[in-house]
Assembly symmetry: C2
Homo-oligomer: 209 residues x 2
């Protein structure tokens, strides 16, 4: 919950951000369709009208949560573009950044990954996800063309497999566990970019001929 008193318009205890967090947790637990404004009001200990003071509709709560996750992921792409340099380094930046966003915004990213396009808000979110995937695929193609990433795998398959690995983290990651976001990002980079096989096992033999 925000410490900023000026954001508090409802009852003490829940500002807009606080309501959003409880709502996203409920959507993830029961499903968006199964979570009515009445259920949310019960969970918050607020009246429905107190929630409507902050959000025009349940759809608006969903939109805000999805925008939170998508905006952060799109920010990672923009940072990578702004940093310039080799495409392989920008791929590294995007993968690490995506892991950090996932850990920092675990609930809203979880919600985003479950969106199936049942409403207009969901369809807009899916369109932004597709644009993100397309940008990642283009970045991988660039790295393949510059010769820094292997080109024997289709770039869109590379994007899908690496983001499949990253997105699967929501299934098991719990804050406060053994791995923090940076270690987890290192692990993902280690697997995706350098691979698990020890170079000494047969890679060096091949490389040294």
């Amino acid at each position: 919950m925000s410490e900023n008193g000026s954001l508090r318009r409802g009852r003490p205890g829940y500002d807009q951000q606080g309501i959003l967090e409880v709502a996203v947790a409920a959507f993830n637990q029961y499903g968006y369709d199964a979570t009515s404004m009445g259920v949310l009001a019960d969970r918050l200990g607020l009246s429905k009208s107190a929630i409507y003071h902050h959000f025009a509709s349940k759809d608006e709560i969903l939109e805000r949560a999805l925008d939170d996750a998508l905006g952060a992921l799109e920010g990672v792409l923009s940072e990578a573009d702004a940093a310039g340099g080799r495409a392989a380094d920008r791929v590294d930046h995007v993968l690490r950044g995506a892991v950090r966003v996932l850990v920092a915004k675990l609930s809203s990213v979880t919600l985003l990954l479950r969106v199936r396009g049942n409403t207009e808000v969901e369809r807009r979110a899916l369109a932004r996800r597709r644009a993100f995937d397309k940008a990642v695929t283009a970045l991988v193609e660039e790295a393949q063309a510059e010769g820094t990433l292997r080109s024997d795998i289709d770039a869109s398959v590379v994007a899908r497999l690496t983001f499949g690995m990253i997105n699967s983290i929501v299934e098991w990651y719990r804050p406060g566990g053994r791995e923090d976001a940076d270690k987890l990002a290192d692990d993902v980079i280690a697997v995706a970019l350098d691979g698990l096989r020890m170079p000494t096992s047969n890679r060096v033999d091949e490389l040294l001929g």
Copy 2:
């Protein structure tokens, strides 16, 4: 549907396997809870009693479908164990085998991955999934100990990330697409074991010192 006439006990057109396939597709589309025996009967163009001729309950259909997926995955592990040799090669065998099972049994694996433990049948399936994950983690640990897989990543994180990547394939893979199971298995092995980065980009520099 099976060609074997002796399996056909219901109306012409659907043997037990045929009913199972239609049921699994419906469970994946609408959710297990939302798919009643009445809905299934409508979809099959059969009476409910014709379905009960083959399956004692909806739960039994689910159990058969989950057993189909789990049995195939467990078979991959047994084959790897039976083959012996270096643990890294057995990891390779398990990852490739899991991709092939996923492609061959896309619907039942998709169903398995959505199981949340709401019923006794689901809880038994989750217990088998956990045992499978544990066996994969043990295999990775063995490969780390023999020095063939890198040991700077926790073995259980390795198992989660690689199977996260493999399992994500159900989200986008469609039979008859550009990639067949063998190419997809090659791609997964290429990413997970050897990594995307071209050795010439900076790996060889490091290796050759």
